[in-house]
Every structure is written in structure tokens, then in C-alpha cells.
């Protein structure tokens, strides 16, 4: 009888682990509890003991492979009479992948421990205090432990704040905290004292400190309080995703899904998004493409409109380096390289990835076309290397693939601008006071108004438009 060795759950929110080292070879005799392999999850390496004695008969997951929790990574044949899985912390009746219909999942306010195993990979979000983070850059994650809101405010306020509160007879739990973990900062308490001399009924600014399970009141920004950088916070999911008895099916997000979700919400919270639209004539480029298409095909290159757009973007970025930059606190980081990322949807429509053309300014049209073919193909077939998605300085996305006219893309952090290319199609337009049929498309540019003002965005877009409309792209 053989015993499966599984990827242990090293923490309830960890959905996967990477095998970094096998300490035993196939055929080796092993004792139960002897170190068998090493895994690595975010910043943590762990040594995993064998769950049973016997002979290592098969290694299913090789070194370097990342597998979900509870996936079988090896098998032990053997002597031992199926010892209990000592290696698996939390020997839950684990349903590895495909979660069968989970038991009616708990409402969001349910205690973390009470969650059924099948939804274990969902972020076990304990209700967080209804507070924003102190400044837009430091992102608040869930606090350790499960302190009630009031306690968090009281216990974790600094001595200075407690002293001021005591002097003014203020109950700290009544003050909306904008510090880390909902801590009441000195500014909070001073504002509170200043703005709430007489607690007028009905206009009380401080959210009552009851563990309200329903919509928490949005944090009140006291008048005159400095708006935190970014000015936004990521609220908890306060509206339950479904009501009791509603027929639903719950499945865990893939890692990619989670990362996209986080990245997008983070971007919206940190950047001041503005989108401008330009109507661009692609007629010259369409003709050039038609004339070159055949030659390129013979070289094994599929020529799309994208390399033309990238060339135009590169020229624009050279003229307006503010769009090829990043924000670091109160500093501007100008990127010396022009590395253009292009969003590629995965074939099943579930997920996307943004491979990067490094030093796009050093490539001509043909070089770009080849690079785009290559990266696109490897993205769709999941053969990208980690390096292929790093160090982008500007991104392009394609809301027009299925006919979309235009989009308002979300900036790919830490970049400050992203170009959306709508459907390129023939349209009747006025040219020299006559109606003509031309290839046209709407280009949209979302940019971070912290760094890029409207005028600069417009100048950049005008440059892109001009480049494309001039045609004869090299």
C-alpha cells in the first residue's frame, strides 16, 4: 500500500507552494518524520517531514515546480500501515483541486475557523476595522489576530494620542482612526477635538464603535484634515456577495486571478486615473501593412497593427519622458529604457499577462513585429520566462480585439500611463470636405494625473496620432 505525500498547508491563506529541494531520492528508505523535502512560499522556506515510513517510490512534483496545497507531490511505498499524515498540518478532509459544491458558505462575518475546507483558499478576511489606511502608499493588509475595532484603536494608539485623549476627556474608540491598522493618529485626535466641540445629534462625525456587521459608515474625513496621499482606501467587502439560500457555486480564484485583482484595485487606489480619447486615421498604415504583409509572412512574421502602434508610442515616449516614468513618494523616477508591455489575453479568456518588449526604441518595425509575435505566442502558451514580464515602463492594451471601440484601461503599476487601442475598422469620415472611407480607430490613454497633466497627455497622443497618420513606418 502506498502513501501519498501532499503539499502541506503552511498557512490558511497560502494556496500553493514551490518545491525547492528533495532531500531524498526515489528508492531511498525513509523514516516517518525524517525531513523529506523543502518548500518555499512567499519569503518562507520550510522543511517538510515524511508522513510515513517506507521507500520513496515516486516523486510527482520535481524541484522548482509550484503545486497547489494538498496536491500529491510524491508517493511512499511501504511497510508502515498508513500512518496518519503527520506532515500535513491541519489534516482537513482535503479536497485537492476541484471543489465539489461546498457546504453553504458562511456569511462574510463568520469566524475564520468555521470556514469549510472547500473555500479555504479564499482570503480569510476577518472583518477589518472600517478605516482607511494612513497614507495611500502603505497598503493595509489584515491585522494579525482578531482584535475588535475598539480595542485596536485603544490598544494601538501611541502614548501621545492616549495622553491627548485623556487630557480632553475623549474616548479614543469614538475617534475615526486613519493610522495603520485603524490606529488613531495624533492628527486624528486633534481634528476630533477641533471639529467636535459640541456633539450635535445627527451630525456626529465619528462612526459609533459598534461591531456593525452591515455597511460600515465611510470614514469621515474631518474638514481641514490633510487628504492622505492617494486619498483612497480599499474598502472591505461589506455587502455580502450572496444572500442566504441563494443558489451559488463557489470556486477558489487562481493565483493569477488573485494577483490581477489585487494589482488592479491597488492601481486604482494609488493613481489618479484620467483617460483621453483620440480618433486616429490608420489608412496609411493599413496600406503599408497590406503591402508588407506577404513579405513578412515569408519571413514567418505575422504583421498586425500593433508594431505600428508601438513605433508611434516609442517616438512619443522619447519626446515626453514623463509618460515613461514612475512615482516614488515625492520623487519622479524617469526610466532610461523604453520597455513596452503589451497585454495578452490567455486563450480561455481567463486571465491576462503583460509581456514586455525590452528596449523597444532600439527595434524597427520588423523587429517589433517579430518580438510581438514571439511574446504573444509564448504568453498564450504559458511559456514566458519571469524576465519577460519585468521592467515594463509603459503598457499597451487592446480593447478592440472583439470589436470594442474604446476602453478606459487601468494603469499597470508602477507605470504612469497605458494606451488602449480600439477596433481598427473602415468608417465614413470627412476628408477635404468630402466623405471618404478610411481605416480609423479610437485610441485611449489612461494616465496618472499625479505626474502627467492633461496638456502633456494630449501632446503625447497628438504625437502618436501624427506618427500613425503619416504612415511609411520604418
Amino acid at each position: 500500500m502506498s502513501k501519498d505525500v501532499i503539499m502541506p498547508q503552511m498557512g490558511e491563506s497560502l494556496a500553493e507552494g514551490t518545491i525547492t529541494k528533495w532531500l531524498k531520492k526515489v528508492g531511498d528508505k525513509i523514516e516517518r518524520d525524517e525531513p523529506l523535502f523543502e518548500i518555499s512560499t512567499d519569503k518562507v522556506d520550510a522543511e517538510i517531514p515524511a508522513p510515513a515510513s517506507g521507500t520513496l517510490s515516486e516523486i510527482v512534483a520535481a524541484e522548482g515546480v509550484t503545486v497547489p496545497v494538498n496536491a500529491v507531490v510524491a508517493r511512499i511505498a511501504g511497510e508502515g500501515e498508513g500512518a496518519p499524515a503527520a506532515a500535513a498540518p491541519k489534516a482537513e478532509p482535503a479536497k485537492p483541486e476541484a471543489p465539489a459544491k461546498p457546504a453553504p458558505a458562511p456569511a462574510p462575518q463568520a469566524k475564520a475557523e468555521a470556514r469549510p475546507a472547500a473555500v479555504a483558499t479564499r482570503e480569510p478576511e476577518t472583518p477589518r476595522p472600517s478605516t482607511p489606511k494612513g497614507d495611500g502608499q502603505t497598503k493595509l493588509e489584515k491585522p494579525y489576530g482578531q482584535y475588535p475595532v475598539e480595542e485596536m484603536r485603544r490598544v494601538r494608539s501611541s502614548p501621545v494620542v492616549r495622553k491627548i485623549a485623556a487630557e480632553h476627556g475623549v474616548d479614543i474608540t469614538e475617534v475615526a482612526g486613519h493610522g495603520i491598522s485603524g490606529r488613531v493618529t495624533k492628527q486624528d485626535i486633534l481634528n476630533h477635538i477641533e471639529t467636535a466641540p459640541a456633539p450635535a445629534p445627527g451630525t456626529a462625525p465619528a462612526p459609533a464603535a459598534k461591531p456593525a456587521p452591515a455597511m460600515a459608515p465611510p470614514p469621515v474625513m474631518p474638514a481641514g484634515a490633510p487628504m492622505p496621499m492617494g486619498g483612497l482606501f480599499v474598502p472591505d467587502l461589506r455587502i455580502p456577495p450572496y444572500v442566504e439560500g441563494e443558489p451559488v457555486e463557489i470556486e477558489p480564484m487562481t493565483i493569477m486571478r488573485k494577483k490581477i485583482a489585487e494589482h488592479m484595485v491597488y492601481s486604482m487606489s494609488v493613481s489618479a486615473h484620467v483617460t483621453s480619447f483620440f480618433d486616429v486615421d490608420f489608412e496609411a498604415v493599413a496600406r503599408q501593412r497590406t503591402s508588407m504583409k506577404h513579405d513578412m509572412e515569408e519571413k514567418g512574421i505575422k504583421l498586425t497593427f500593433m508594431p505600428f502602434v508601438v513605433r508611434a508610442v516609442v517616438e512619443g515616449l522619447k519626446k515626453y519622458p514623463y509618460l515613461n516614468a514612475a512615482v516614488m513618494g515625492d520623487k519622479i523616477v524617469f526610466k532610461k529604457e523604453i520597455n513596452v508591455g503589451i497585454a495578452v489575453a490567455l486563450e480561455d479568456g481567463k486571465g491576462l499577462i503583460v509581456p514586455v518588449i525590452r528596449n523597444a526604441d532600439e527595434k524597427n518595425l520588423q523587429g517589433l513585429a517579430r518580438a510581438i509575435n514571439d511574446l504573444g505566442e509564448r504568453a498564450r502558451t504559458k511559456k514566458l520566462m519571469p524576465d519577460d514580464v519585468l521592467r515594463g515602463t509603459f503598457s499597451i492594451t487592446n480593447p478592440g480585439v472583439f470589436g470594442g471601440l474604446m476602453g478606459t484601461p487601468i494603469i499597470n503599476q508602477p507605470q504612469v500611463a497605458i494606451l488602449g487601442v480600439g477596433a481598427i475598422e473602415k468608417r465614413p469620415v470627412v476628408v477635404n470636405d468630402a466623405i471618404a472611407i478610411r481605416h480609423r480607430a479610437y485610441l485611449s490613454l489612461s494616465y496618472d494625473h499625479r505626474l502627467v497633466d492633461g496638456a502633456m497627455a494630449e501632446m503625447f497622443m497628438a504625437s502618436v496620432k501624427q506618427f500613425i497618420e503619416a504612415g511609411n513606418v520604418q
Binding site: E12, K43, D45, T138, M328, G329
Partner: protein, 228 residues
């Protein structure tokens, strides 16, 4: 129920390999059940350490530069990529058994961050978390790095908090493989940073609070007072 003992010591300057030996011995003892949890607080000679998942190319300085700066390079078994340790940086090695009630490495790392954030807050430094990047950040600059190893639920390695660290030394590497963001230190953020020992004692107090341990100081000297 009384809290478990956390035998805490401030060791001053310790070489990196001596620190490793110290940890190994204690991990074995804690695993064997012959010693209680421990927290070693110390600072290292200048050294670059490569975690298990490290990429050599994240060391950007030449070996000539490194030896000129007196920086050694070590490979070790913790998680994470390249890290710099050196004088002025408070290094903490908690050797703690997460069994039976804290068997969650993700929460453990979050707890480490929490203890450091609470300690920094006492000096008026609003530190927090940043994106999904482990560590403690002030804005977009990292002030404390974290890399942990767990062996049979006993932790080793831990955190490195820049108090008065020479930040120029970080230019020899891409810290933790993260290119886009910088590093900072307490000295850069406040006028009068604490001594390493003072900061170590403060971190120990918050660590013990977060993890519900009782700090037991392992030397005869009276602990330095906490800042007002």
C-alpha cells in the same frame, strides 16, 4: 494560562556564520523540547546573504567592489532573495515553535511585520505593508526585510530593521529582487534614532505581545528603559 517563555538576548556584533550556528543549535533544542523559544537580537558584520530562491544577478556590485567595502557573501537556507546585513541594522532571529497553536507561516510573517510596525510607531514612524511585498515599508521604501525558515514548525532567521544602516551598501544589490522600490532607515526618518539595543528591547516587547510570549531577558544587566 501563562504565556510561554521567550528567552531574549541582545548579543551585539556577531558574524553571520556565528549567527547561523547559534540558530541551528537552538532550533535543534527547541525541536527536541529541551529549550524554550528564544529571540536573538544582534547586528552583523557587512554581509550579503542569498536565500534559497536567490538570483545571483541581483548582486550588482563586482566582487572587487564588495571586498573593497568589506562585504562578504553567504548562501543560507531562509526564504527570499538577496539581503544585505551590516552595522546599524537590528537583526532579530526568533527561534519559536509555532506548534501547536500558530501553525500558519503566513500569519507568522504578518505578525513579525506587525511587531516591527508597532515598534516604529513608538518613534512616530508610520510604517506599513506595501502591496504584497513582505517586509515593513515606509511609503514605497523598505525599512525592514523579512526572511524566514521553518523546520518542523520551529522558526529561524527573521527580520532585519534598518536603524542607522549605511544605506549605500544596499546599492550593491537589488534587495529581495525588487527593483522598483528603495530602502530607508530610522536615521533617515527621525532626528535621533535609538541605539540598536534600545530598539531591540522595544521590538522584543512588541514581538512578545503579538505572539503572546513572556520576555525573559537573558543577561544580568537591567534592560534599558523604554522611550517615553
Amino acid at each position: 494560562m501563562s504565556s510561554r517563555r521567550l528567552e531574549t538576548s541582545f548579543l551585539g556584533r556577531v558574524s553571520y556564520d556565528e549567527g547561523l550556528r547559534l540558530q541551528e543549535a537552538r532550533v535543534a533544542a527547541v525541536q527536541a523540547g529541551t529549550a524554550s523559544d528564544a529571540l536573538y537580537l544582534l547586528e552583523h558584520d557587512p554581509v550579503l546573504t542569498l536565500g534559497r530562491s536567490a538570483h545571483r544577478e541581483n548582486i550588482v556590485a563586482s566582487s572587487a567592489d564588495l571586498s573593497r567595502l568589506g562585504i562578504q557573501v553567504f548562501e543560507c537556507g531562509r526564504g527570499g532573495d538577496v539581503t544585505y546585513h551590516g552595522p546599524g541594522q537590528l537583526v532579530g532571529y526568533p527561534i519559536m515553535n509555532l506548534s501547536p497553536d500558530r501553525k500558519d507561516v503566513w500569519k507568522y510573517v504578518r505578525g513579525l511585520e506587525e511587531a516591527l510596525m508597532l515598534s516604529l510607531a513608538e518613534y512616530g514612524i508610520e510604517a506599513g505593508r506595501f502591496e504584497r511585498l513582505t517586509g515593513v515599508w515606509v511609503g514605497q521604501e523598505k525599512i525592514a526585510a523579512i526572511g524566514v525558515r521553518v523546520s518542523r514548525w520551529v522558526t529561524s532567521h527573521g527580520f532585519a530593521l534598518n536603524v542607522t544602516t549605511n544605506l549605500d551598501h544596499f546599492r550593491t544589490i537589488i534587495p529581495c529582487g525588487i527593483r522598483s522600490y528603495g530602502v530607508t532607515s530610522m536615521a533617515r526618518l527621525i532626528d535621533t534614532p535609538p541605539s540598536l539595543e534600545e530598539m531591540g528591547r522595544l521590538v522584543a516587547v512588541h514581538y512578545a505581545r503579538v505572539f503572546d510570549r513572556e520576555v525573559v531577558w537573558m543577561e544580568e544587566r537591567e534592560p534599558a528603559g523604554r522611550p517615553a
